[in-house]
Symmetry: C2
Subunit: 213 residues, 2 copies
DNA sequence: GTCTATACACAGATAGAC
DNA sequence: GTCTATCTGTGTATAGAC
């Protein structure tokens, strides 16, 4: 968004390079936070671990992000952006039915979780909750995603492919919950199934239910 | 299990009374731990909070339980025992089909969770995990519950009421996961539905699936 | 067994040199 | 902006009187 100051003698190229380095460093930080957040959750993750994984001093982290909460919030925003990008890609495929889109979204969240990149959600009274609620990019992203999914949900109910007796918000929350469903980890830990099999099974239980059809 | 020593002059009644007091105190402790475990999880729960809620000094807690992990493990064992008692009650009702039994189990776990009494499961690398794996009562209880549910699952698949393309273990894990499904909390927080409505909706998504039947 | 007081460890955050 | 060194609070656990 910001351009190099024209009054300075330093060439814009150099400033851009430094900004690129800065951005790359922050990306590395956010990626490490994301991974640790998925692995152990916000409370159990320590800033020392983040610093160690990135390979910089802890004090340097605090030059980039003012607190542990902001660190985690940045990772959550990043995940939300990835989700938005995925929805963009889905919307660009006109051949899909609304139900197919919802199914693809669920599949994507499960893939992200099995890749160890889906942060587990903070408990109700966590300090992270306040930070997320105060983060405009996060809240805006969440609302955007919810709106788009909500649109597909009502469309799928209108065309008769989705259970019409469920309120759309219940469907929406059910899809969100699949992103952190521990069933994936349980089945993975059992060692009997590959990631693709696991995802197919959980997708089946989610959309088709446990009862025989 | 233990009886008063016959060589002592103190009447057995008194010893029994003190044991009752002791047991009542421990029950109060476990109940508080259970509630806090459900509310904020193992990492965020502090022993100070437990002591404050029970109304005794922190050091007294450590006379009853040697560590925070043992404290939490005791609460988990208690929950497992409650589950076993519930299964006992279900088995005593011969009129129920296997599918109905499974549905009642899912309903019970959701009721417990909405009552704020279902501890959230520890993350993969938590110190609580090791304590639970080392707790014979817990592991035994978990295996007993799994065996009984597993029996009903294969019965329900045999009588054609449960999806036969799913491995029984996937069904089992799916039921376990419903016990800590965040959807319940989401819907509760939305303020639009009562607990009974919420449970019916989640039961529907679990057994009937999101797709229209 | 219950208490007060305290030891010990560690996590989040900062100071200040470079 | 990065580092080393440090401050500060807090959480688990224990000592020791009663």
């Amino acid at each position: 968004m910001s351009s190099a100051s024209p009054t300075l003698a330093t060439p814009p190229v150099k400033r851009s390079f430094r900004e690129q380095m800065h951005q790359a460093r922050e990306d590395a930080i956010v990626a490490a936070v994301n991974r640790l957040l998925a692995e152990k959750g916000f409370e159990a993750m320590t800033v020392d671990e983040v610093a160690a994984e990135v390979g910089i001093a802890k004090a340097s982290l605090y030059k980039h992000f003012p607190s542990k909460e902001d660190l985690a919030a940045a990772a959550m925003v990043k995940v939300m952006q990835r989700a938005q990008s995925f929805l963009d890609g889905l919307q660009a495929r006109p051949g899909l039915t609304p139900l197919q889109r919802l199914r693809e979204v669920a599949r994507w969240t499960m893939e992200v979780q099995l890749a160890g990149e889906m942060p587990s959600l903070p408990s109700e009274n966590s300090s992270l909750r306040a930070a997320l609620a105060a983060s405009k990019p996060y809240v805006d992203g969440l609302m955007d995603v919810s709106d788009r999914l909500g649109g597909w949900i009502v469309e799928a109910q209108a065309d008769g492919s989705l259970n019409t007796s469920l309120p759309p918000i219940a469907v929406l929350y059910t899809l969100y919950a699949r992103a952190c469903d521990p069933v994936l980890g349980f089945l993975k830990a059992s060692g009997q199934y590959g990631t693709e099999q696991i995802i197919e099974m959980v997708l089946s239980t989610c959309f088709d239910g446990l009862r025989q059809r």
